[in-house]
């Protein structure tokens, strides 16, 4: 086990984007592309919350390659995927009573989405 020393602490706090992976992985979605989120209900960990499952959105930004959180927890090995900011209209998420101009943005991985 590595010892936590001052150099390690410095690198933790002073390296921006330290958890982004420098791997050449092809993105499955393009910025501006329409997507629909998957309806998954895993017993393990996921960063796809219930309120955003099976919802239509638009990819707004591609942040690069990151570990898929779901895979790291169940010990399925590391899965490197692109992570995106995706925009959803409030009415798509909360129904017709939500304000027409509101939207929400959430960070999603490749595995959480399929093309709309």
């Amino acid at each position: 086990m590595p010892v936590v020393d001052l150099d390690l602490v410095k690198s933790l706090y002073k390296t921006p984007g330290a958890i982004r992976l420098r791997l050449d992985v092809a993105p499955r979605f393009k910025v501006g592309g329409a997507i629909v989120t998957r309806n998954i209900n895993p017993l393990g960990h996921t960063r796809l919350p219930r309120y955003i499952r099976d919802k239509k959105g638009v990819v707004e930004h591609d942040h690069g390659v990151f570990h898929l959180p779901d895979a790291r927890v169940i010990g399925a090995g590391d899965q490197a995927q692109h992570m995106y900011t995706v925009r959803f209209d409030a009415r798509e998420v909360w129904g017709d009573e939500a304000p027409a101009n509101d939207s929400l943005r959430i960070t999603l991985w490749d595995d959480y989405m399929k093309p709309a």
Partner: protein, 103 residues
């Protein structure tokens, strides 16, 4: 997992407490819990995703009663025991020692 941590869209939890300039730590122990968690992740004892999942598995009724850093502490203990860094017996023995010292 579909548990109590996934609160988006839930009603009945009261108004949001949006304190301006809220202090980062309400007591010194909160800062220590955060520092320990960061150090143990840097030391590769567990990763951030495993840590979040440890907190998601807190019993739902109990989850609602714990403060933010109490959840961090509980998650840290779960991880340390599941990863074999400490045992439940060692933890219990240390708690006994602390309470003896305090009595």
């Amino acid at each position: 997992m579909n548990s109590i941590h996934d609160m988006g869209g839930m009603h009945g939890l009261g108004p949001l407490d949006q304190a301006d300039n809220e202090i980062v730590f309400h007591a010194p122990w909160e800062g220590r819990v955060m520092a320990m968690a960061r150090a143990m992740m840097a030391g590769k004892h567990f990763n951030l995703d495993e840590y979040r999942y440890a907190m998601e598995r807190i019993d739902p009724a109990r989850y609602l009663q714990l403060s933010y850093y109490e959840k961090w502490l509980e998650g840290t203990l779960t991880m340390l025991m599941e990863k074999g860094v400490i045992t439940q017996e060692e933890f219990d023995a240390h708690l006994d020692k602390l309470s003896d010292a305090g009595s």
